[in-house]
Subunit: 132 residues, 2 copies
Amino acid sequence: MKISTKGRYALRVMIDLAINSNGKYISLKDIAERQEISNKYLEQIIALLNKAEYLETARGNTGGYKLSKQPKEYKVGDILRATEGDLTPIYCLTEDGKCNRQKDCKTYSFWKGLDNVINEYVDSKTLEDLIK
Amino acid sequence: MKISTKGRYALRVMIDLAINSNGKYISLKDIAERQEISNKYLEQIIALLNKAEYLETARGNTGGYKLSKQPKEYKVGDILRATEGDLTPIYCLTEDGKCNRQKDCKTYSFWKGLDNVINEYVDSKTLEDLIK
DNA sequence: GAATTCCCTACTAAATTAGTAGTATAATAA
DNA sequence: TTATTATACTACTAATTTAGTAGGGAATTC
């Protein structure tokens, strides 16, 4: 039960962008260097953040990325879900995972509760909270 | 970020033992049948619970397993940790996972907090809670 | 002593994770 | 207009983890 590098790196990227923002676009290369993450792998992670419309991007010589919102407007939970997929700790709780034992499953509500505390926690923190 | 079958099955085994307890030993075969889990795989899971001294066992014809304590004396968290390994959602928080960026890591305390809510939740529930 | 049970270790197929690699596309600046 | 620098997209791959299988052996009871 681990958060993968995708979620962890994504969070670091977002923090990096928040801290180093100066109005200009910040290149992937710069982020990768500061964060010591492979260029090519970071591309894929940023692609996920981009698809979720968390970033503004520009190509070309002065291109790069910047946050599309204020740090306090990003819930950490949203960043993680965009990169990790869902944070549901149990397959049974997902849409595809419904099983025929569910009706009298003694563990279901326990797992549901775990899912709740996890999501409530990650959604209670914003990017701004992490920076300070 | 998922709980594996080991933890999920282990919890179902413990509940099965709690519900079907009648003073006698309950065979792995019976549990496996009721829970629709492969005999051989279940053996391995039970071995972990056994190693943690959560079960009493007996061999031979009337042998099997029973709980070594009352249901309310088992924290669900303990059952999961015995079978899943630790529940720490981030490698960095474990003994082996300390990294050289930790001193000014902006995410560390966030992850620590997540670790806390998870462990507090699973430790707040006992086997008895799940049965009722 | 045959049947039934737990005990222990090794192996393996499938899925997931953590990347590499290569190419195309867009923008800028000389 | 062309070289340079950047993002965008897709395919592939090595390593690890997960979810089991398989095959003995040892204890106990009938």
